[in-house]
Amino acid sequence: MIEYNETERRMVLKLVYYGPALSGKTTNLLQLHEQLARQGRGELMVLDTTGDRTIYFDLLPFFLTAPSGLKIKVKVYTVPGQVCHDATRKAVLQRADGIAFIADSNPGEAQSNFASFDNLERNLVLVGLDIDSTPLVIQFNKRDLPDAVPEQELRNIWGPTGIPVVMASAINGAGVPETFETLAGLVYDRIDARFRLLAEHGLERERFLRQLTTLSEEEA
């Protein structure tokens, strides 16, 4: 559902961080904001919260320009994870171009992961998106937990689906840029052919990803 305006030479991409409550979606955005270069990255917009829980969404915008002059805005959203905010989740999920599902590695949260993924599948149908063609990355967060579900077990489960799985510890920043980069890569692959990003706008995959994910220390 890419917003593309040929006369204004603008494109807006929407990436959504989905997942169960307290799985670390906002922490992912905070870390992206922290770690990625100031160049082209907007300010993190954290809408009002209640007791540190997201009730609307968070928004981290990126801006880059292709060699052709095409302006590309990438907006990364989080949804509220709590079950009661389903209407908000649906609203944020509309027109998503890619989804990062942030799962909790705590074995006690397996049921919440499942319920949230089920909720994602249903809401995708409701907002008219096809889960098979929408770029999707799964991040298993909180790898730092001592009793985290073993990585091999998770890979055995998710490997056969073909969905990329990234292990992360968002609170320490580990795996956060990788998740974002994997998702951005999938989105590039999905839209390149249709919008001729490389052929017409001279925007290589490498360049697209580098502009989005240059770390602060690399910049310096």
């Binding site: 907007g42 809408l47 609307y56 969404f57 801006f63 805005k73 907006k75 649906k90 609203a91 944020v92």
Partner: protein
Amino acid sequence: MTGGERLDYVVGEEKNLRELLLDSDVLPLLRGALKAGAGCARLLDEEGDELWGATAPEGRGALLARIPLLLEGEPVARLELHGETGLKERLQPVAALLCVALDTVLKNNLKRVLTTEIHTSVVNSSHEELLRINAELSKSEARYRELAENLEARVKERTAELRRAQARMLQQEKMAAVGQLAAGVAHEINNPLGFITSNLHTLQKYVARFCVMLQFYRDHLDLDLPRQIIMAEADQKWRELKLTQVVADVGDLMSQSLTGAERVTRIVADLKGFSHVDEAGESPVDLNQELERTLGVLSHLLSGRAELVKELQPLPTVTCQGQLPGQIFLNLIQNALTHAGEAPRITLSSCFDGERIRISIADNGKGIPSPLRSQIFEPFFTTLPVGSGTGMGLAVAWEGVLKLGGTIAVADAPGGGADFIITIPVRKE
């Protein structure tokens, strides 16, 4: 989302600067720069067109500072500050400060707009959801209402069916009672008929002997024998034929047979009266007479087996179908006989108080426990073992009394037993 006049909010749609900043947000800040000594402060878009601007009356001066303004990381405008070249050192920090202030206002406004968008979107979708739920509930309510209405109709239908079945059962019971009655009456008629036939057989033999005797006289009279001899031979013959005993017996036989025939006549008359076969429609009926007739057709059950006490006072006539009272009394007396004690005693009484006829049929049985009193008139209710009673007798009586426009109730008879009391109002003609 479809909706005619409703705004269709999409969260996070691209905004331009004009949508996010108001004159009242920007102009005071730009004028503030003028107060700080600037000649001109303005915001230009990417094409270089002025969006907002403030210029001092003394003139603009030279361009001293140009700072880009970012929206979500994208450069969307630039701030330009002009003034006297000598004030450059002072005005450049003012420009930086101005840019921070504009950036803050912009960020807060964007945040507010986003919050409003998401809030509106959620409220709208919640509202739509509520409308949908409401529509579904209304639909299911309508379905249940329809179901309930149908249920009522079905219950009515079944009730009517049940009533029809009950009426059929009552009719059958009446027919069965008639059958029983017929059997009893047949027995009653058979008795006298039996001895009448037997007597006639005997009389036939007697008549044959009389004929022999008469023939003897006729033969001897022709012979012209001496009277002595004839007398002797006749006496001889008389003795042979045992005519002395025969003559003595004939009178009894004849009167017995006549009595029997009269009994049959009476029974037939009772039965005819009881059944009112000769009458169609309604006619005036004396209930005392109907009671007597009923006792008459039940005589085979009563005579010698039950003590009957009758306390009947004269009653006005009641206009009704002739066989109705008999049907009522028959069932009540049969019921009394069934439930009376070891030495059955049935007390029948009738009286008229000027407005109502009151007829009571009481037995000396065990009586009816009060919890059962509301049920005994229901069809199929019986205290008898299965197969012994149909439970329809009292229901037939109840229905009959209802047709007479009266009521029937049960009370304790004096000295124990059940007392069925029929009350029938008499219309003054």
